[in-house]
């Protein structure tokens, strides 16, 4: 305004203003306040007697791993990689044709949203009933949700290819030729990058399949941890980090055919599929008997026998919110550690290491470790979700910040953080967080398998007691909840920063 009377302009109040930074700050503070307000409802008790002693034993196990006590690490690693690569490939084969139909068919979109909404481990529990502890169970558990994910992401990537080459084609070019010449080549690099990222996720998921009994790395990890053989567990964990860290070398695209062939030889055992039994499972076992018989009062009775889901759904949603807010706080605290604008070479290296370890440890694994330390409350689940997802977001934010050049030189670190970098990276960070919210909720459900009282707890119970109809019903509820939260977070997500890059979805 007028320069002569600067004092006429009233000083704005606390957090008042329409700038993006202030708006997003208010947005985040509301989210945090909501979480704090609901926190008393969560069961955060520490139930073990001496968590510090246990932590000490675990740390000693990590520091002095017992390499010699590993029984068959090579076959466990081989199976883990084989399941991951073939599961990803099967997902691509199923998902790619769906991606081409994705924009046109509401049915395809709904179907993909449904299969995506159910975690790999739940799919594994479902297929376990039909195919037993076999390679088929493992492959289907990865391939089916990944088909839904690939369909959606591939469709988005293809949709964003530039239109100009398509329009330059002479009239009468066939659909397939048009796709091969002007769409596929333009999208190829992004499709490949996303498939790679998904393969990394598949590796983690493949490890986790050990938790339901498939003999991947996770099976040995879980056994070792559960039986308190921490040096052995430490060795396995280091092996897993080594596997992830060396991925760029052994997972080079030239080696993929060899991995596929080698993996095919390692996959097994293959189940004998009994068509009749399979059909009975799909058509009969999964559905409540009164529904199949067309008996409405019986169906009401059936519903009445289902355990009270209110607290389970409440816990699932609460843990989802707490995990999201926790991830935000962890990401805010951790991203400067790995960013070139802060610290020295040593701190950055340590920060990178910390982020890599936190984000490549599967969240179920983290939760499992915290569970052993703290006992079965929401606390270990909360810590695991916050740390894993927070580290993932922090890593991406640090990379974003590395690409920025501060306009003012010679600012102190806090000035750089608050004035130069945070205002630029925060919109993207919040957008990432909302993307992850759906993933966090999906993970929340599987934490039930460790005994945390979320929906997943009752789903596993249903499968354990062979009440497939109940388990399937709960799976449907979980999927619906995920789809609802996904659409909610889509609506709440700030529009300031379009998130690009493959590692976000």
């Amino acid at each position: 305004m007028s320069e002569a009377t600067p004092s006429r302009q009233p000083r704005p109040g606390l957090l008042a203003g329409a700038s993006t930074g202030l708006r997003l700050t208010r947005h985040s503070l509301v989210l945090i306040a909501l979480c704090v307000l609901l926190l008393p409802l969560a069961d955060l008790a520490i139930l073990t007697r001496d968590p510090w002693a246990e932590l000490g034993r675990m740390a000693r196990g990590m520091a002095w791993p017992a390499w010699g006590s590993l029984e068959s690490p090579v076959s466990a690693i081989g199976l883990t990689v084989a399941v991951a690569i073939w599961g990803t490939l099967a997902g691509v084969i199923l998902g790619f044709p769906l991606a081409l139909l994705f924009a046109r068919s509401r049915l395809v979109r709904a179907g993909c949203a449904f299969v995506r909404a159910i975690h790999e481990l739940f799919w594994a529990l479902l297929f376990l009933q039909v195919f037993g502890l076999s390679a088929l169970t493992a492959l289907m558990a990865l391939a089916i949700p990944y088909a839904g994910i690939f369909a959606k992401v591939y469709a988005e990537i293809l949709e964003q290819t530039p239109r100009a080459p398509r329009e330059a084609l002479p009239p009468g070019s066939g659909r397939l030729s048009r796709f091969l010449y002007t769409e596929l080549p333009l999208a190829w690099a992004q499709l490949a990058a996303y498939t790679r990222y998904r393969f990394e996720c598949a590796l983690r998921a493949s490890v986790l399949l050990g938790f339901v009994g498939l003999p991947t790395l996770g099976f040995h990890l879980e056994t070792a941890f559960r039986e308190g053989r921490y040096p052995e567990a430490g060795a396995l964990l280091w092996l897993f980090y080594l596997l992830i860290a060396t991925l760029p070398w052994w997972g080079h695209k030239r080696l993929v055919p060899m991995l596929l062939i080698g993996g095919a030889l390692l996959l097994g055992p293959w189940p004998e599929v009994d068509g009749g039994l399979l059909w009975r499972f799909v058509s009969d076992d999964l559905w409540p008997a009164p529904l199949l018989a067309g008996d409405p009062t019986g169906l009401l009775n059936w519903l009445a026998r289902i355990p009270d889901l209110g607290p389970a759904i409440g816990n699932t949603l609460l843990l989802g919110l707490m995990g999201t807010v926790g991830a935000l706080l962890v990401a805010l605290a951790l991203w400067p550690l790995a960013c070139r604008h802060f610290g020295n070479r040593g701190t950055r290296l340590a920060g990178h290491g910390l982020l890599v370890i936190l984000r490549s440890t599967p969240e179920l694994m983290l939760a499992f470790i915290f569970l052993l330390l703290l006992g079965p409350s929401l606390l270990p689940a909360w810590l695991a979700l916050s740390l894993h997802n927070g580290a993932l977001i922090a890593f991406l934010v640090a990379r974003h910040a590395d690409a920025l050049a501060p306009g003012m030189t010679g600012l102190s670190a806090s000035g750089r953080f608050a004035y130069e970098l945070l205002p630029r990276v925060y919109p993207g960070m919040l957008a990432l967080l909302y993307y992850r919210a759906e993933v966090i909720l999906r993970e929340t459900a599987i934490l039930g398998m460790l005994g945390v009282a979320t929906l997943g707890f009752y789903i596993e119970e249903g499968f354990d007691y062979l009440m497939f109809d109940v388990a399937f019903f709960l799976l449907l509820i979980t999927a619906t909840l995920n789809i609802a939260v996904d659409s909610l977070s889509r609506r709440l997500r700030p529009r300031e920063a379009p998130v690009e890059g493959s590692c976000t979805r």
Binding site: A164, P165, E167, A168, L169, P170, P171, G172, S173, G174, L176, S177, R178, L180, Y181, T182, P185, L186, W188, A189
Partner: protein, 261 residues
């Protein structure tokens, strides 16, 4: 004008051109956003038309409509090339005749170039100074090289008519002359959008000038002067200058007036 003998290819009679279709009165399709209202003009066989006008004057709309009506008769060279950066020069040029092969042949051609198209494209590339670049991805080429690939793709279509939206915008003046000559040699009729007014007068026999969605010039190039063409670019002479003075230099203008009397 002696139009009796010349065979009209396309004629517009007071038509509204634009983009986005909607149903108008009587169920007739009409553009949702009109760029060129009430346009009347005729394209004759054998015409070599330079299409001039500021950005946004409606050149691309007119060319798109011509392309739509001429269908497979016209070879097309789009603005900003419309190339696939990840594919080799050969494959981009080959795309000019994509509909003439089966999908299977097109697929195989991506894996290993077909023999006859490879030779035909090689000849064209030699003509355009692209020899030795046929296997290079277009993304690694310079702006001028990309421009020539786009023209090669249009020439490869082997049509009678050529429609180009600024096909010589990113090459140097000498190359622009060579490319225009090549286009002239291989097509009996052409409509080319340009920014270089001197080229329009020296290398075309008709000029269409668009200004604010109106066709304000439709005359043989021989009857026009540079000053008259300058009226198409109102932003270039914000301060109204007398028409006899030397026109302010358009940054896009090329020193090709040397060849003119």
């Amino acid at each position: 004008m002696a139009e009796g003998k010349r065979q009209p290819l396309i004629a517009f009679h007071g038509e509204d051109l634009g983009y986005g279709l909607e149903r108008g009165q009587g169920g007739r399709a009409r553009p949702a956003r009109v760029v060129l209202p009430g346009l009347s003009l005729t394209l004759h066989r054998g015409d070599r038309v330079a299409l001039l006008g500021q950005s946004g004057a409606g050149k691309s709309t007119l060319l798109a409509e011509l392309r739509r009506r001429l269908g497979p008769q016209a070879a097309w060279c789009p603005q900003h090339h419309g190339l696939v950066a990840q594919l080799a020069v050969y494959h981009n040029v080959y795309m000019g005749r994509l509909p003439e092969h089966s999908a299977l042949a097109n697929l195989w051609n991506l894996l290993r170039p077909l023999k006859r198209p490879w030779q035909a494209v090689a000849e064209l590339c030699e003509l355009l100074g692209l020899e030795g670049l046929m296997r290079r991805p277009v993304g690694q080429l310079s702006g001028g090289q990309r421009q020539r690939v786009a023209i090669a793709r249009a020439l490869y279509q082997q049509r009678d008519l050529f429609l180009g939206d600024e096909p010589v915008a990113s090459v140097d003046p000498h190359q622009a002359l060579r490319l225009l000559a090549l286009i002239e040699e291989r097509h009996h009729t052409s409509v080319v959008a340009l920014h270089q007014r001197e080229l329009a007068l020296s290398h075309f026999d008709r000029v269409w000038g668009l200004r604010d969605g109106r066709l304000v010039i439709d005359a043989p190039a021989g009857e026009l002067t540079l000053a008259e063409l300058d009226t198409l670019y109102p932003d270039a002479d914000a301060a109204p200058a007398p028409i006899t003075s030397t026109p302010p230099l358009d940054p896009e203008a090329l020193p090709c007036s040397r060849g003119r009397p």
